[in-house]
Amino acid sequence: MTLKLGIDVGSTHTDAVILSARNEFVGAVKTPTTPDVTTGVVNGLDAVLQKTGADPSEVKLAAIGTTHCINAIVERRRLAKVAAVRISLPAGVGVEPMIDWPEDLKRAVGGTYFTVEGGYEYDGREFNRLDNSKLREIGRTIVEKKFDSISITGQFSPVRNDQEVEAAETLRGVVGDEIPVSLSHEIGIIGLIERENAAILNSATVEVAKAAARALEEALERRAIRAKLFFSQNDGTLMSVEYAKRYPVLTILSGPTNSIRGAGFLTGLNETVVVDIGGTTTLAGILVKGFPRQSSSAVEVGGVRTNFRMPDLVSMGNGGGSVVRKVDGRVTIGPDSVGYSIVTKGIAWGGSTVTATDVALADGYAEISGDPRVDVSRTKKLDKEFVKSAVSKIVENVEKSIDMIKTSRESMPVVLVGGGGIILPGSHYDKLKGSARVIRPPNFQFANAIGAAISQVSGEIDRVFSLEHQSRDEALKQAKQMASDKAIQAGADPERVQIVDIDEVFLAYLPSNAARIRVKAAGPLK
């Protein structure tokens, strides 16, 4: 029998789930995430293989979802110090890079930018010559000031990318090959500010992503699983591990996509709000006609505007590991989380940091079984009023998330998934504002890993089509066919491949009529 493995590495727990090739649930486990990631995944693999009795050699596909990168952005931690280079002078200074970023995130990535002469016009002509000597100077500053990562955004690079590529070569000549470089044309589309934001976030999370990918590869190797390894992307399709290491920003919102799709799979519901409470965040999304509702406006990531295609989401620092404090007489939850350190830092575990889980245990509505280190009596020493305020704040945060993701006053069912869900008191299930009823399906705590395992495989093409001897319709038709063929080659079911994205840039600069067409097709595994 062919099996599929879904793994979700969260900030507190690592989930592993095994499905049959036809998406039948075989079994799942939850183990603590470990600082090195690998040990946690190996433990998870051992447990799920033992529980299901599955043969490692039957696992043909491993799909991974990880929240490492989004958590790094949300918590403003472990982010690289980025040298953001914009190629646009003398244009561009009216809106400087990162101008409308939240101040703390800007500080966390170093908040430093460089502008350099160069850029293209809309038709691919040169706007200004790339100033390589200034770039070399910037390179020396990057070495001197010890920047970890570089992002390069050139004016009109989606139309013509030569200068971005050249600038990367020039900088590498000075800084060496060790510092990762993100090029905006490989990440985003037309819209310089949004594309630049995405490139900077990509640079900021490259190391976090590489470490996570290496840890997962190692874990699979150790258990002799020779499955094809994929990462889930923001749009719910899969991406090769090599690609994911270079473009982590394309995977940062895969978690929510996976849990929304997983919640739909587990309940059979097609129209519902999905609330995923994890270790660090409460995420609310919405399933419409069986698919996560896509955001039509610019998608904000950690408060930063990007132009990705992503599910519409509301995110709040309100998870099981969120730190609870009293600030100026008011109780606050998060946004920081102790993550996997809850097992040493949490009050119930004998530590000294009050987490959302601790107040849930103190109030008596939550239970943790099977962890001998937990002693609930430790939480009973917490001030009663403080606990009460914290619990109502947690409920209020969840209600606010539901309210924000809904766009009408009508009540909708809410599917509650994610391991951190215990922080929401069961007594509130029937009376959450804006919710018709709260459903916690069996295996709710594995929604994310299940979503990863049921991900679709995709095929993408991105090339220039001449419109001299064929019409635009014919070119589009050809592009769609090529993308579908690629998806099928990657393993998609030919009967169920669909076009999921089309993007087109008309290129007036070529001597003949031409357009750059990008098409993405996706379908379930055959």
Binding site: S88, V93, Y122, D403, S408, R472, D501
Partner: protein
């Protein structure tokens, strides 16, 4: 009445202006960031009602000209429009008393605020079209006799020109040529005029309307009320008129290209819910020009046709449209100053090579507008015709 425009008002102006941008006019986002930067540095700006402008004032409108797809990639330096205003002052030998938009829809709603914050001048609450349009002579200023010339024009590199044309069509033609050579986007000051002429020729109070639309939609969303219904309420009874929902569906295809300095093409929308099985096509040249359902025209210029996100009522610009988006298309009647025979010669459907005469939105949808509250001038003109149709 004088309104003070600070950072909070600038956010509402930008979202309201996107709706009056009717798909074009450029995403106000880039202009908003420029204005916020300027207001943060120099302080808030005064917005003056046209009735309070002295007759002898010297007013110089400021704007960005060109293709919106260029602006979102080639970000301005930020001081180009001020440079154009200064150049025109020098040419006329007279300092400006105020600036104002030529176009309250889209990014050009924000540029005068960049200029005003940097120069300390007030902005006048009015413009020359009450929406967005693709060409320079498409201004009530022009229709009612104000020469656009001389125009001062700057690009990001510092190239500049003062141009005198024999009429406003020649002005558009030549300035467009310069703009294309400047890379498809330029910064202009033009239609310098007296306070008296502002009162005679401008579409009034469209900047404060844009602010009101932006604020109303934001507040409705915050209260979880339908932003679409809020939008209809806020324009009903004004010199515009009640917004009408024309179609609801999913974007099927967007065909667009940058030709001769314009973004031109067609949007196809597949109907959903009560519109299932039908298809809307929208022709655009920077702005949405004509909307038809299964071939039957439901709205044309100069009435406003806006594509909004179905859930949030946020306006989506032509360059922001993507396959699969859920959208609602609304029409907003244009003010009467835009519908005179001399005005329609400049921006009626025929000017854009559309094969139809102009029929006001109210008359295309009489059943809807029979129940709506109309402004006094529209009441007098359309009520009898609505009753008899």
């Amino acid at each position: 009445m004088v309104l003070t425009i600070g950072e909070a008002e600038m956010h509402d102006i930008a979202s309201g202006a996107a709706i009056l941008g009717t798909g074009g006019g450029g995403d106000p986002y880039v202009g908003k960031l420029m204005a916020l930067t300027a207001i943060r540095k120099h302080g808030p700006v005064k917005l003056l009602d046209p009735t309070e402008v002295p007759d002898d004032w010297f007013v110089i409108p400021t704007a960005i000209m060109g293709a919106p797809t260029v602006l979102i990639e080639r970000i301005p330096r930020g001081d180009e429009a001020v440079a154009s205003l200064r150049l025109l002052e020098k040419y006329h030998g007279r300092k400006a008393d105020a600036t104002m938009p030529i176009e309250a829809g889209g990014v050009n709603s924000t540029i005068p605020f960049v200029v005003a914050a940097k120069t300390g001048l007030p902005v006048i609450d009015g413009d020359g079209m009450g929406r967005a349009f693709p060409e320079l002579q498409m201004e009530t200023f022009s229709v009612y006799g104000i020469p656009g010339s001389p125009i001062a024009i700057h690009d990001e590199k510092g190239n500049s020109a003062v141009l005198n044309a024999v009429d406003n069509f020649a002005l558009e033609w030549l300035a467009r040529g310069l703009t294309i050579k400047m890379g498809g986007s330029s910064h202009i000051a033009e239609y310098a005029m007296s306070g008296k002429d502002v009162k005679r020729t401008a579409v009034r109070n469209c900047v404060s309307l844009v602010l009101k639309i932006g604020r109303t939609i934001r507040e409705a969303s915050e209260r979880k009320e339908s932003p679409l219904e809020a939008l209809m309420r806020v324009t009903e009874g004004t010199n515009y008129g009640k917004a009408i929902p024309l179609f609801k569906g999913k974007i099927l295809d967007v065909e667009r290209r940058t030709t001769a300095g314009f973004a031109v093409g067609n949007t196809a929308i597949e109907g959903l819910d009560e519109y299932a099985g039908r298809t809307m096509t929208i022709r655009f040249q920077n702005e949405n020009l004509m909307a038809a359902v299964d071939g039957e025209i439901v709205a044309t210029v100069p009435d406003l046709i806006s594509i909004l996100d179905t859930e949030s009522a946020r306006a989506i610009t032509t360059e922001g449209l993507r396959y699969g988006f859920r959208v609602t298309v609304v029409g907003i009647p244009t003010p009467e100053i835009m519908r005179t025979p001399e005005a329609l010669k400049v921006w009626g459907p025929r000017y854009f090579n559309l094969e139809t005469d102009y029929i006001p939105l109210e008359m295309r949808h009489p059943a809807f507008y029979l129940k709506a509250k109309l402004s006094p001038d529209k009441e007098e003109k359309y009520r009898p015709r609505l009753r008899s149709s």
